[in-house]
């Protein structure tokens, strides 16, 4: 009967019920939308990090570090690359030779990382070819051509066909200098990386380093991120003398960005929930005051406080349960729509997002379990908010309530 009363009370004051249901729906929508905004940004960052920078997995020699001096190499690199490329989970593989050194022009110099690459493999792994904004992608017949980032080019006033001298140490620790011509200028989402990385053919770099058929880094792009742990385990087992790392280990800052976003979105979801709570408290409190007399009669007739409390709580709970599906539908619809169309932040943000390895358009998205989390949070908030009006109802005195 308490349920019956609660249910019929909902339909009695339709305005009020609509207000609460809409509040719940809006609260749910707002919470989900903000979570989706951040989740979308995080996913985009992750996607870019994987597809344009790191790839899913990288293999290095166990004591690999980016040193100015000789970097430990993978000896059977060619063989291993072919073997990895044959795996069905693998989309693309790129073997890279790396040297840390200095780039000098007539007027200036900068510390850089020289990446020796096989052009086609690199294009497939990190989309290097599509990042090209000027010049050509290793089409020159000459072997001593290089690609540099737009930011570095600007900083050192380099243009296509400019001559640069690269200085680094070979495998015997002798200082080697070699002249290269700029064949192309590229720009990626991550200008910090653009400023530091230059690309040359792997054979040229290996010759200068005194290496043969070797590489320092093998980057592996898989068909999907879910395959990462499996392939990592397989490769690690096959190559116990090498270090196999996934993108999370290689780029902890991507992890930092993802978790900062998680944290920030939680803070805002909490604020949204607070706003929802106040809305519900206000409206239910009004409902209780409006029904002072009726509650007084129920108490006079012998309805005890526990049952009264349960009645008001049940009423709120039902309102919330009706509001939730609408909110979910709204949230899902808006997120779905925007996940295709995207929110373009260029007007607000200008170049920024690109400078930090984000794209300028956010595609919000939310996995199912997060929807569930938000629904649970909203329901808990709503029920807790209903406590205050319910307690207020308990404090009514029947005599005064009936008289009023």
């Amino acid at each position: 009967m308490i349920t019956t009363i609660a249910w019929r009370n909902i339909w009695r004051n339709k305005t009020r019920s609509l207000v609460i249901m809409t509040s719940v729906a809006l609260g749910l929508w707002a919470g989900a939308f903000i979570a989706a905004l951040y989740w979308g940004m995080g996913q985009e960052r992750m996607r870019i990090a994987i597809e344009n920078e790191i790839a899913h997995l990288q293999i290095h020699a166990p004591d690999f570090t980016l040193e100015f001096a000789r970097i430990p190499a993978i000896h059977n690199a060619t063989q291993l690359t072919a073997q990895v490329a044959a795996m069905k989970e693998v989309k693309a593989v790129s073997a890279r030779a790396i040297a840390m050194g200095m780039l000098a022009t007539a007027t200036g110099s900068a510390g850089i990382q020289i990446n020796g690459i096989e052009p086609n493999a690199e294009a497939a792994t990190s989309q290097l070819k599509s990042k090209l904004t000027e010049g050509t992608y290793f089409e020159s017949k000459k072997t001593n051509t290089a690609l540099i980032g737009a930011k570095l080019a600007k900083k050192l006033k380099l243009k296509l066909n400019s001559k640069v001298v690269l200085t680094f140490q070979d495998k015997e620790d002798n200082l080697v200098s070699a002249a290269f011509r700029i064949e192309g200028i590229y720009q990626s989402y991550n200008t910090a990386l653009d400023e530091r990385n230059i690309y040359v053919p792997i054979t040229t770099l290996n010759n200068l380093l005194g290496l043969q058929q070797q590489a320092h880094e093998i980057a592996i792009l898989l068909h999907s991120d879910e395959l990462t742990p499996v392939v990592k385990a397989t490769l690690a087992a096959q190559n116990q003398d090498l270090k196999v790392q996934d993108w999370k280990e290689i780029s902890p800052e991507t992890g930092l960005i993802l978790s900062t976003m998680g944290q920030a979105s939680m803070v805002f979801v909490v604020i949204i929930l607070l706003a929802l709570a106040f809305g519900i408290i206000n409206t239910m409190l009004m409902a209780v005051l409006e029904r002072t007399r009726e509650i007084g009669v129920l108490m006079a007739l012998g309805m005890n406080k526990l049952k009264l409390f349960a009645m008001i709580l049940t009423e709120t709970f039902m309102l919330v349960m009706v509001g939730c599906p609408f909110g979910l539908l709204l949230a899902w619809g808006v997120i779905q729509l925007l996940s295709e169309k995207g929110i373009d932040l260029t007007n607000i943000a200008g170049q920024t997002m690109q400078d930090f390895g984000f794209s300028n358009v956010i595609y919000p998205g939310l996995p199912a379990n997060q929807y569930l989390q938000i629904v649970i949070l909203v329901v808990i908030t709503a029920i807790v908010s209903a406590f205050f009006p319910a307690i207020r109802a308990l404090r009514l005195k029947p005599v005064e309530a009936i008289r009023g």
Partner: protein, 404 residues
């Protein structure tokens, strides 16, 4: 008379008045809270980032920033120093001579950034003394260096060892010097931690053959919000021979990161406004529904709609203004508290922040401007929403309304 009626109406149903007031109160408080937290977080980020190295503001020879070479240095004259220090809000001017050099230990060589500094003044900008992890701090006339911990590790050097610096000096001369390491400094940013070598300014000028020259002058301010004023005044005072660069121009990516975040913050604020205005609307809607009979009766006894609307609007105004003032009064200590005792996060997030050299806190920004702006925006929304009851009064049919 209308005012008196409105005033009495508010007192007659105190619970209802309080509830409506509460909805405005919480709306303002939440908006103030959100905005102060947002602004505080970015202010804090800026403070952290500029104290890494750049400071809030630098003066260079015109053109230096685009081409950071020693040939673009300038003479540090007394008249320049005086002209700078005379500006209001300027508290200190810290000179630097910065250049690239190859740093070598016994076997290993690495690219490094040499900074000639005034040890005491440098401490004001970057708190360099606090970063000392072994050895002792530089004295102005030392012939010794402080080197970054990461760089020292790479060079396999430690305190009291000798480091050789080799680079290109002023006007193409060769710069070469041998220095004993007086101490190690540790930086949170790996990029800086693996690059910096600090020399006392006179010794650096000596090494690079640039006597009396500087590449940059870092200006300290009494408060960050005076930045723009100082930039304008300095530009006027020292003329076009120099470039005056605020941090936003030196680190456009950080500036734009903050803009982006403010962009997403605006989306969040918009969502919050939507939710709180719905909360206020809900209360007004219920208030209106509850008072149908009363309105009908007043009209039946001859009160003109215009006057009744006037009474209702005065009521809304009183409620909104009181709620707003209460929220501002409650917001000031709350925000101030969160400003002085920032929300501190713990666990994995905190560790990541510390690794990046940030204090793991979410400080709120205490600014009356933010508080007053938010209060104004929300009250404006509330007053706009208060038009709904007016509309209701104008459309009310008194005989219909009198039916219970």
């Amino acid at each position: 008379m209308l005012f008196k009626l409105a005033w009495r109406n508010l007192w007659r149903n105190r619970s209802r008045t309080l509830i409506t007031m509460a909805s405005v109160f919480f709306a303002v408080l939440l908006a103030v809270f959100t905005m102060s937290l947002q602004k505080g977080v970015w202010d804090n980020l800026t403070k952290n980032v500029v104290s890494f190295y750049s400071g809030y503001l630098q003066i260079h020879l015109n053109g230096y920033w685009n081409e950071q070479i020693l040939d673009n240095s300038f003479a540090f004259t007394d008249s320049l120093n005086r002209a700078v220090l005379q500006q209001p809000h300027v508290t200190a001017a810290t000179p630097r001579l910065e250049a690239f050099a190859l740093a070598s230990g016994n076997e290993i060589t690495k690219g490094s950034m040499v900074a000639g500094i005034d040890p005491e003044k440098e401490h004001i900008v970057t708190a360099l003394k606090n970063k000392l992890i072994s050895g002792s701090y530089l004295q102005p006339n030392d012939r010794a260096v402080l080197i970054a911990e990461g760089l020292a590790k790479k060079l396999q050097l430690t305190t009291a060892d000798t480091v050789v610096l080799l680079g290109q000096g002023y006007h193409g001369s060769t710069a070469a010097g041998k220095y004993s390491i007086k101490g190690l400094v540790k930086f949170a940013s790996p990029e800086i931690n693996e690059a910096m070598v600090y020399l006392p300014l006179p010794e650096a000028q000596n090494l690079y053959g640039a006597t009396g020259m500087l590449t940059s002058l870092v200006i300290s301010l009494d408060a960050p919000q005076n930045l723009n004023a100082v930039v304008t005044n300095l530009k006027k005072a020292i003329g076009s021979r120099y470039e005056v660069m605020p941090w936003q121009e030196m680190m456009p990516e950080i500036q734009q990161l903050i803009k982006t975040k403010e962009g997403s913050a605006q989306i969040i604020l918009a969502v919050l406004y939507l939710l709180v205005s719905f909360g206020i609307f809900g209360t007004l809607l219920m208030m209106t529904a509850e008072r149908r009979y009363e309105f009908g009766m007043l009209m039946a006894i001859g009160m003109k709609r215009r006057r009744l609307a006037g009474v209702v609007f005065i009521e809304s105004m009183l409620v909104t203004i009181t709620g707003c003032i209460a929220a501002v009064l409650a917001g000031i200590p709350l925000v101030n508290y969160l400003h002085q005792h920032p929300i501190r996060f713990t666990g994995q997030m905190a560790k990541v922040y510390e690794d990046f050299g940030f204090e793991p806190v979410l400080p709120a920004m205490f600014s009356m401007e933010v508080i007053v702006t938010q209060a104004a925006i929300v009250s404006f929304m509330a007053l706009l929403l208060a038009l709904y009851p007016l509309l209701h009064v104008y459309r009310l049919n008194e005989t219909e309304a009198m039916k219970r």
